[in-house]
Amino acid sequence: MSTNVILAASEEGGHQTLTTVLFVGVVLLTVAITFWASRNTKTAADYYAGGRSFSGFQNGLAIGGDYMSAASFLGISGAIALSGYDGFLYSIGFLVAWLVALLLIAELLRNSGRFTMADQLAYRMRQRPVRTAASVSTVVVSIFYLLAQMVGAGALVSLLLGVEGDTLKNLTIVGVGVLMIFYVVVGGMKGTTWVQIVKAVLLMVGTLLISVLVLAKFNFNLSELLGTAASNSGHGQAFLEPGLKYGADFTSKLDFLSLGIALVLGTAGLPHILIRFYTVPTARQARVSVNWAIGLIGSFYLMTLILGFGAAALLSDDQYAKVAESGGNLASPLLAEAVGGGEGSTGGAILLALIAAVAFATILAVVAGLTLASASSVAHDLYANVIKKGEVSGREEVKVARIAAFVIGGVAIALAIPGQSLNVAFLVALAFAVAASANLPALIYNLFWKDFNTRGATWSIYGGLISAVGLVFFSPVVSGKVDPATGESLSLFGTGVDFSWFPLENPGIVSIPIGFLLGWLGTITAKEKADPRKYRELEVRSMTGAGAE
């Protein structure tokens, strides 16, 4: 009798109730953590860098929580479920990128900066132009990334709750926006970090559970899983080989190469990742945290491979069609339901709700990190060092950072609501391309090239930023791409508008060399030469930690 009631409730959408309960649980938990963290946030170093008191392991978890977005959790497993092997190509770029951060950036940045990316870039330069440029680039990268996450959140939550309608989507965007503003304003870096740690643990446990259940269905035989996925996908062996998604023609191959380069070079230039290195006491702990992050992120992407192929292998034709309709986002949630016992079963409802809650926590942690990175840069770089020329107390800086978080969060909400009707998924790839074209060249030159100077820094940042954004503006992403089958527009603008002339959707292969080239050109043409004494100081400080906070 009672089983019948539960079954009936599940069929009526019992998992929706359970999902809602778990969503509320995630919100309450993170709000409590934020209040708890705020009690120990007093100084500017507490607010911006969590008092530099996190261990390498804790920060490694938080980096994972900051980096693994809902796009990688639901998006990559979905891409594998639909396009097979080609979905896996993303995760490899996302992972290998961490070696750039580990070998060239993390420790040196920890020793030579304090709170923001600009601290490092402006170390031996004229403060105002370089900090302005770095801050503009930080805010642009973070807002692009933030918008993609928030628009995705609206669609995702209504998908996970199984409720249609624009009201819920708009409410979700406002709700997510208000929560992220709350974490950042009240909790600062400490609150944000703990939210990210909780999310990373939930995400790892959730994906591990589903992966093991999937593998168990195939007696832990990977080859059998792949074979079933290939035959069920309708593509046969081609499903297990590269080329299903990107292999169409030379342009799409070149586009994939361009994306691959931007992914591998972009990570070490993402401001919300860079500021995480300041939250540990020493450069050695920064190294330890990147190692943990590589371990976590690597294992996570290996599991998305199982989830993606598992979804292709185990879902029924109806369910698989639903995954395709959702653009892949439903692959992991529906797979969780299937391995839990299938549609209508209690186990299925529980696992589906669990994965939905994990996805929700993932969104919250990532948007909080992005808001914090841009608010910190506005307060510390633009307000304190450009406008006030450094004559400002830590207390006032933190106050401005909190106001900035409000404004940036508000702008993100205001842009995300109309943004829902547009295809904004390209913004994540664009954020990586800008980070790789504008930020990474400046960081690398500043650390390793003695002659690099103020003009070189501003030219590489603005040059990389403008070329990456500009090329995408004139690409098929923004106008002129039409689905040959349906005649609908696949671009940001509708059909009939076409001003595209740049053939690639990913600008990295052109804009990254432009960023490096302009950094070099600006440097050699500047009248004002670099100060060799300041570079010697930077070298000693970045490599030994002498004088570092």
């Binding site: 992972l95 304090r114 030994t544 930690g545």
Partner: protein, 112 residues
Amino acid sequence: MIERTSAAQDAAYERIHATEEFRTLKKKYLSFVVPVTIGFMAWYLLYVVCSNWAPGFMETQVVGNINVALIFGLLQFVTTFAIAVWYSRFSVKNLDPIADELRAEFDEEITR
């Protein structure tokens, strides 16, 4: 809040920069990271290029349904993990002792 270094700090940075130990530290660091970075970037780009332009090679089946493409992709994971461990061991053994010593000298020098 721009950091301004004191005269004592400036002098300490200059002195340390001129030491043999610092030159050794810099040389050891660069002679590790430069070749390794070139190596893993080339290895990664080779993978991307093969995925694009060598379908025949990538679709070769090795064991059951496991083909070269999957093994090549998984090897990228293996090399990433391995390089991270290798670099950390290298640093602990070769870089950290020198950096610690120079940092201690710096702290002593500016508090004198």
